[in-house]
Symmetry: C2
């Protein structure tokens, strides 16, 4: 039997946000590979399925393992949170393919897209991504802080809405604060900032504040941070959190 | 009965990419509002449901209609392609709320996220969004071409992967070509360019080329254009389209 490999996005958390295509890919697989908590969330093993859980830090090893299984004829699903193409497993798989044996290039490798964290976070508060936007991972495991700074500066100067993934971790507790400090040099203190923890899960927590007031200590690894453009606005509501949205049209005098 | 309004993302086309949460919101609604083709794609009316089709150019009118129905006690679903928060209906609804009667602010308004076109397009070819990226709409209906140019320049100079929505239309046939010309002044001609038409539908068509060779006439309104960073690579394959992906790590000598 010819092996296949599908990198499957299971969305931000709630089972209701897993697409039927992703569920079908998981049900069809003989071998499931992924970070333990993701596998727990999405899989009930059926007869004939094997689970290969791993920790979260060995993406390339996990990718090679998946490719080797597919090459041996298995129907492999690599299970990834959010969308597999956005700061998740898909790029690691293709990196392994390029560096690996030529047989890996001939495999049937597919990506099943999913709802990435930034979309789920935006949906929780309104429509803050309503204009042009960019997504930046603050992790400097794989790129320099100089590059991250350069991208933050460019995004702020060109007035993009900015979505920050991987805002901080135990190993790099100061990066989100450093990013806010940099952005304050370019953007007004009244700029809307939204922090959404565990967006699209059953346990979401949101903070709506400003660049002048934001406290980076309120974020953790499961937080998605959105920084508005000059066109991002709040709609105040009686006794409820405000709606946050970005005007589709330009604002006169915007940066 | 208290009215509600849900802005529902139905993804890029294939029914298998509509989340169960989006399907449930549509099934629960008493009134469905949207662009005719989207409604046709996702809805089979049940008893008690009313459909309000509209053309695609009157987003604010459609938003106001939806809000008025919800205020009158209906369970309203505004159906939007892709993700409603990304160049789609959600921002128009909140714009209407801010400008409308105060009762609209008190409504229960929710957004159901979906798979936006850029994620579906990326998944068709590999993992081109594997690094930091930005999304820009080339439509100048609501913002100036000067602003679009400034954002393209900033994104290119900071070496983001760039996703272009609304690349051209009959009313503005030259914008995609102008954008490529601008990017050629900043990025090398070998930069990977991917054009995916009708990504995530049953009728997808993809072109993988370079910034030096790309022909804007191969795009239309249903095309999503991805322009690589210096870390975006092709993996050649025997007798098949190459895989396209962006290395997660920086490339030495990258822009």
């Amino acid at each position: 039997m010819t092996g296949t490999l599908t990198i499957v996005g299971v969305g931000p958390g709630r089972p209701e946000l897993i697409t039927p295509a992703a569920s079908a890919a998981i049900a069809h697989a003989t071998d499931l590979i992924g970070y333990g908590p993701y596998l727990d969330r999405v899989t009930t093993l059926r007869a004939g399925q094997t689970r290969h859980a791993s920790d979260n830090r060995v993406e390339l090893d996990r990718a090679r393992h998946a490719l080797a299984l597919a090459c041996a004829g298995k129907q492999v699903a690599v299970v990834s949170g959010g969308d597999p193409g956005v700061f998740a497993m898909a790029a690691a798989v293709f990196e392994a393919v390029e560096a690996g044996p030529s047989a890996w290039r001939d495999l049937d490798i597919r990506v099943e897209p999913g709802v990435t964290a930034m979309l789920a976070a935006a949906a929780e508060v309104g429509a803050p991504l309503g204009g042009d936007f960019c997504a930046i991972s603050l992790s400097d495991n794989l790129k320099s802080w100089t590059t991250i700074r350069r991208r933050l500066e460019a995004a702020a100067a060109a007035d993009f809405v900015i979505a920050l993934y991987n805002p901080l971790s135990k190993a790099r507790p100061h990066q989100l604060g450093d990013a806010f400090a940099l952005l304050r040099q370019i953007k007004p203190p009244s700029t809307v900032v939204v922090m959404v923890r565990a967006a699209g899960s059953g346990d979401v927590r949101q903070i709506i504040t400003t660049l002048g007031d934001v406290d980076p200590d309120n974020a953790d690894m499961r937080t998605l941070v959105l920084i508005g453009s000059t066109a991002t606005r709040l709609i105040a509501r009686e006794g409820k959190a405000p709606f946050v949205y970005t005007l589709r049209r330009e604002v006169e005098g915007g940066a």
